[in-house]
């Protein structure tokens, strides 16, 4: 398989050329993702740039991916090829901290089964091959929906149900974690080390069943419940290694309320979401202690969409209360808190040339055992992401993303007890991302 250590410039150019030609061939074949084939509309109808949704994209998702004509083969594929360059890929002792630095790699490829099944039911099912270490493939995001529309007191109401496998993957605003910024990041770079349970902690591990209502494109409410993805729901975690699985304590509630306002080319959303979840400390032992997590979040999104200018902004704050009942964690506090704050501002010209500036901050209580990698036992990490994008066509994105850290593991210097600065983790990621 593809592994590129110590590549020469010629080898890198050859690899880029192969993927570039593959992308262009996909265009000649009039190949666009399956929803575009279903609706006949181009990607920009639903996306500012994939995966960020426009007001119409949100409508398309809320109505269950059912607009357009049903296709016999509602499939699409996506791949990413990139190179990461870390500021200091080795620590002060000379040991490698970042593998695959300065190598062009296929980072991931996905196959989608995504389309309309009937006038009321549609699906988004993603299977992803991860070219990491170890290489493997597994189910990725899943969102299967049923949706109905009605008119109540002269106002449009969308009602729906969803079966999915990642909290917030069902949400339609890109301020929530599952489809939040950064929309992709380097698989090789040193990333943000800690996040809340609702922010990817349960992705592809749980089964979520929920119901939602959207009134007059103004008020949105959703109630979902999460349980272990086993038994009849085991396909929602297909391919996930046994060691990574979790067992939830029964049904765990998730809530979401949002106020949405659209006027002229503007749209604004102010919302809250959250969940309470209990997780067995030993997934194989139903009598093991249950650790509990309560996440409460606020979020907001603003979009200004015209031709040729597009401006969008998202932000979310998540507060997590952790209650540790696991006897094995002898040095852990009985309870901890973890807070994350993320925001970004994006500008696109002609939906082709984009620039994004984002910032992130993670803070929380000190816990020597939980954050054992930190010399000060702290999760505190903060930094920024600057990204430039070029989309020659609507389904190809060439991006340059720089991630900088102000603080990592609770410190800006000596983050590993060996004199490493937080900024040594800064990285530059050049990525070609295409879908067809």
């Amino acid at each position: 398989m593809i592994k590129y250590q110590h590549q020469t410039l010629i080898q890198k150019l050859q690899i880029l050329a192969v993927f570039g030609i593959a992308s262009l061939l996909s265009l000649n074949a009039n190949a666009v993702p399956s929803y575009a084939r279903q609706t006949g509309a181009n990607c920009i109808s639903c996306h500012v740039s994939f995966p960020e949704l426009t007001p119409f994209g949100r409508y398309f998702k809320l109505t269950g991916y059912t607009l357009g004509q049903r296709s016999l083969f509602p499939v699409a594929i996506m791949a990413q090829v990139g190179e990461t360059s870390t500021r200091t890929p080795r620590d002060k002792t000379g040991a490698t901290v970042v593998t695959n630095d300065d190598s062009i790699r296929l980072s991931a490829a996905s196959l989608f089964l995504a389309g309309k099944a009937s006038d009321n039911i549609g699906a988004f099912i993603q299977w992803t091959y991860d070219n990491g270490d170890p290489r493997h493939s597994n189910i990725d995001n899943v969102d299967i929906r049923g949706s109905w529309q009605l008119t109540l007191a002269d106002k449009e109401v969308i009602l729906g149900v969803t079966l999915h496998n990642n909290p917030t993957v069902q949400d339609v605003w890109n301020s929530t974690p599952a489809f939040g910024f950064p929309y992709t990041s380097s698989p090789d770079a040193i990333g943000i080390p800690f996040s809340t349970m609702i922010d990817g902690g349960l992705g592809q591990l749980v089964a979520g069943t929920g119901a939602y209502a959207y009134w007059d494109r103004s008020i949105y409410g959703e109630l979902s419940f999460y349980r272990t993805a086993d038994g009849a729901f085991s396909s929602l975690r297909a391919g996930i290694p046994q060691a990574d699985r979790v067992k939830l304590d029964g049904e765990n509630p998730y809530w979401r309320f949002a106020y949405n306002k659209e006027w002229g080319p503007h749209s604004l959303m102010l919302g809250t979401y959250g969940m309470h979840v209990g997780i067995y400390s030993d997934p194989h032992d139903n009598s093991s202690p249950i650790n509990k997590f309560t996440d409460t979040a606020l979020d907001a999104q603003y979009q200004y969409i015209t031709d040729p200018h597009v401006l969008t902004a998202q932000a979310t704050w998540i507060h997590e209360k952790q209650q540790w009942n696991d006897n094995a964690l002898t040095g852990t506090n009985a309870s901890d808190t973890l807070n994350t704050l993320k925001g970004k501002l994006t500008y696109y010209y002609q939906r082709k040339y984009g620039a994004t500036l984002g910032a992130f901050s993670t803070t929380g209580s000190r816990d020597a055992e939980l954050y054992a990698d930190s010399p000060v036992g702290s999760p505190n990490t903060s930094g920024y992401i600057a990204e430039l994008d070029y989309l020659p066509t609507q389904n190809i994105r060439l991006m340059l993303q720089y991630t900088g850290f102000w603080k990592y593991w609770g410190a800006s210097s000596n983050i590993d007890g060996n004199g490493r600065h937080a900024s040594a983790n800064n990285s530059l990621f050049l990525n070609l991302w295409f879908a067809f």
């Binding site: 509309a41 119409f56 529309q149 449009e156 419940f225 015209t306």
Partner: protein, 204 residues
């Protein structure tokens, strides 16, 4: 497992009952309008975003011509290609006639106030044309109140940004072949003239 199944089944049942009891969209065109067209063109054809034209009260003959040209792909400006080619591809001739009749019957919302000086200049161009470049008055074809006639669209109350975009589309021959006359007319209009006319029309 049981709780999830009950939860899913009960919400499905609730949605089905609610839609059965309350939904009145059993007519094909009503469904098409409610589920597809209104997503961009707004409830009753009064779109919110200026990216999408208002259709409420628009001339049916004009709508028939446009929907047909989208379906036949003879209208080929970028927005048409990005969206309307796809949405119109499965419309029958009867669907097109019914949709046009539906939107012509809808009540347009009143215009949005625009800067007075711009409106005044736009009104001057609209009603009198531009003698310096031999541009005829827009009102000659579109009517004194920009109400349109037959294949000539109603422009009163339309989004200024949409009008601007279309006026610029007319500069390129062949993108909207049904509006050949507009190609020569816009050649004599500056961007400032267009902005003024668009502002005047949006304010009506």
């Amino acid at each position: 497992m049981k709780t999830s199944a009950y939860w899913l089944a009960s919400t499905l049942a609730l949605c089905t009952i609610a839609t059965s009891a309350l939904a009145a969209e059993d007519n094909h065109i009503q469904k098409l309008v409610g589920k597809v067209c209104s997503a961009c063109h707004g409830s009753g054809g009064n779109s919110i975003s200026p990216s999408f034209p208002k259709l409420a009260g628009q001339r049916a003959s004009y709508l028939v011509a446009q929907l047909t040209s989208f379906r036949d792909r003879t209208r080929s400006d970028k927005d048409a290609q990005d969206a309307m080619w796809g949405w119109s591809r499965s419309l029958s001739d009867q669907d097109i006639k019914d949709l046009a009749a539906y939107y012509e019957a809808q009540k347009p919302m009143s215009g949005i106030p625009m800067p007075e000086a711009l409106v005044k200049r736009g009104q001057q161009v609209f009603e009198n044309g531009l003698a310096s470049t031999n541009i005829p008055a827009c009102a000659t074809c579109h009517g004194g109140n920009a109400e349109g006639k037959d294949n000539i669209p109603q422009l009163a109350g339309q989004h200024a940004a949409y009008l601007m975009k279309q006026l610029k589309v007319f500069r390129t021959a062949g993108l909207r072949p049904a509006a050949v006359a507009m190609h020569s007319i816009v050649a004599g209009l500056t961007d400032e003239d267009m902005e003024a006319v668009a502002a005047y029309l949006q304010s009506k």
